[in-house]
């Protein structure tokens, strides 16, 4: 394949992969909405749907350019603003049109912004959340994507991040940590049991996320070459191992394997393999599935005992598993599999050092930037609902709808059709 040409096969797969990753956002909405109380179902789901709208726009307007235009080591330029010059010519280093490359990367930015919402469900108002997601997608996601994929300082020092350990997983996890800190705990947190209202949504959401993740990791080789095939297969192996380890941990802890635990394990496994998918052998991918389960499981058990109401454990499931994955690349990558560098165990300490630097710098920037963005938005509009609104539930208060309306006692005010009203004598 000559450089500068478009491959039909690569393009066909990347069109499908883009659609698969786009599906992960409503899948995440389903996953999250099952984990909250019934009165917040729609609001939680709408946080993901909201990202599909506003983040796609912010990405096309300026996010893509900041992430993927050449520019400095810290941020990209503005040549691709409003998709100027993003056409059918192949993206450098790939054999797919840059237009398709832009759309594929857009779906990553959307789902990542939606992930952060898990920290603030059941209390954050919808309008400031939309403002936050726009700002966050440009100032946090696009910047971190530039660092590892757009020719930024981590990329130029050789940090390897296959499908988004830094901009997606660690960024969402540590931003969620910051968001939970700024927005504060739900009013009933620590006083009442706040339980998931529909575990079936959670399982179905996790299943659809795993399905979409084949496009997420399998597409991050930007074609149909060896890295894509390796990443695709590793996306099967790692979550399966995490799932099995989670079963064992659940059995040891409480002698029962839990459904919501299983759904969590699928996500943790997918996250763990994300940065490493195209770089480590299938055997090590299985090992990573085992290792990645441990810190996330421990954090999920410990976090509810703290005052930190990081409600849906984005930090534990995404931040920590992403951190494990990115370090794992530095340990066990093999040139024979990755076609790039080897890790510490295969003789390259330098690679491990730059993976570790990415694992410090990415989370630090994400936490600090998110903290500042939310504090600034909080100066111009209230971030959270009043305690009374929180008690009523965000569905009715924020959207004027309910997920499970009975319609009993509902009196028609007006409808699309001009229905003849009964006339009183």
């Amino acid at each position: 394949m000559t450089p500068g040409s478009v491959s039909a096969g690569d393009t066909a797969w990347m069109l499908v992969a883009t659609a698969l990753v786009l599906m992960m956002t409503p899948a995440l909405g389903l996953f999250y909405s099952g984990l909250v109380r019934a009165k917040n179902t729609l609001n939680t789901f709408m946080m993901s749907i909201g990202a599909l709208g506003v983040v796609t726009v912010s990405w096309a307007v300026v996010g893509y350019s900041i992430a993927f235009d050449r520019g400095g080591g810290l941020i990209g330029g503005l040549h691709y603003a409003f998709l100027h010059g993003v056409t059918f010519a192949p993206r450098a280093g790939t054999h797919i049109p840059q237009l398709l490359f832009m759309a594929f990367e857009a779906t990553f930015c959307i789902v990542t912004a939606a992930l952060v919402s898990g920290a603030v469900v059941e209390r954050m108002r919808f309008a400031p959340l939309l403002v936050f997601m726009v700002a966050w997608s440009i100032l946090v996601y696009a910047v971190l994507a530039h660092w590892v994929w757009g020719g930024g300082w981590l990329a130029s020092h050789g940090t390897l991040d296959f499908a988004g350990g830094v901009p997606v997983e660690m960024a969402s996890g540590f931003s969620a940590f910051a968001a939970a800190t700024v927005v504060g705990a739900r009013k009933d947190y620590g006083r009442q049991a706040l339980l998931p209202h529909n575990a079936v949504y959670v399982l179905l959401g996790a299943g659809l996320l795993w399905f979409g993740w084949f496009g997420f990791n399998g597409g991050s080789g930007y074609g149909t070459g060896h890295p894509s095939v390796l990443a695709f297969v590793n996306t099967l192996l790692t979550p399966a191992c995490t799932l099995v380890v989670w079963f064992v941990l659940d059995l040891v802890r409480d002698r029962k394997v839990t459904a919501i635990g299983a759904a969590t394990a699928i996500v943790v496994g997918c996250v763990g393999i994300t940065p490493a998918a195209g770089y480590i052998s299938p055997t090590w991918a299985m090992g990573l599935g085992v290792i990645a389960a441990l810190p996330s499981y421990a954090a999920i058990m410990w976090r509810p005992r703290t005052r930190l109401d990081e409600t849906l454990d984005v930090l534990a499931a995404h931040g920590l598993a992403g951190l494990t994955g990115i370090l794992c690349v530095g340990l066990v990558a093999q040139r024979a599999w990755s076609g790039r560098a080897s890790g510490l165990l295969y003789g390259d300490a330098h690679q491990f050092a730059w993976q570790a630097i990415a694992a410090l710098a990415g989370p630090a920037y994400a936490f600090a930037a998110t903290f500042v963005i939310l504090k600034l938005i909080g100066l111009v509009m209230p971030l959270r609902a009043t305690p009374h609104e929180e008690a009523l539930g965000m569905d009715v208060v924020q959207h004027g709808e309910e997920a499970y309306t009975s319609a009993e006692g509902a009196i028609l005010i007006s409808s699309e059709f001009d229905v003849a009203r009964p006339v009183r004598p």
């Binding site: 009374h388 008690a391 004027g400 509902a410 009196i411 005010i413 409808s415 699309e416």
Partner: protein, 117 residues
């Protein structure tokens, strides 16, 4: 011996349970009901259809108590359920003719008094 019926906001049901527990009132039944008091109607919109929700979700407490517990029970429900807004609910106290504890066959006062230890 009286039956105390409290109809409260669902989001305050946990607070009522806590208040009853602190007042050492045991033996409670609750059910989900729908009702309409004087509260403002909620307007919801589904596509082109706008509806006024006349019935609100409420939780109904039923507590059978001996006469000396009527006052503390009412106080506990009020303490847990009051928000000060219209729609906090009502308490009704009615005479109770007979009560039987099924397990032991105890009747009346014995049946509504919690088992020791």
């Amino acid at each position: 011996m009286k039956l105390v019926i409290g109809i409260v906001r669902p989001e305050r049901a946990n607070d009522v349970l806590e208040a009853l527990y602190r007042a050492e009132v045991r033996g409670v039944s609750i059910s989900r009901v729908q009702g309409h008091g004087g509260e403002l109607d909620r307007v919801e919109t589904y596509r082109g259809t706008r509806v006024k929700m006349e019935l609100s979700e409420k939780v109904r407490f039923e507590i059978a108590v001996s006469d000396s517990f009527v006052g503390p029970t009412i106080d506990a429900i009020c303490e847990g359920a009051r928000t000060g807004e219209v729609g906090d609910g009502k308490i009704f106290v009615v005479e109770l003719e007979q009560a039987v504890r099924i397990r032991t066959g105890e009747t009346d006062r014995g049946a509504v008094t919690p088992v020791e230890g």
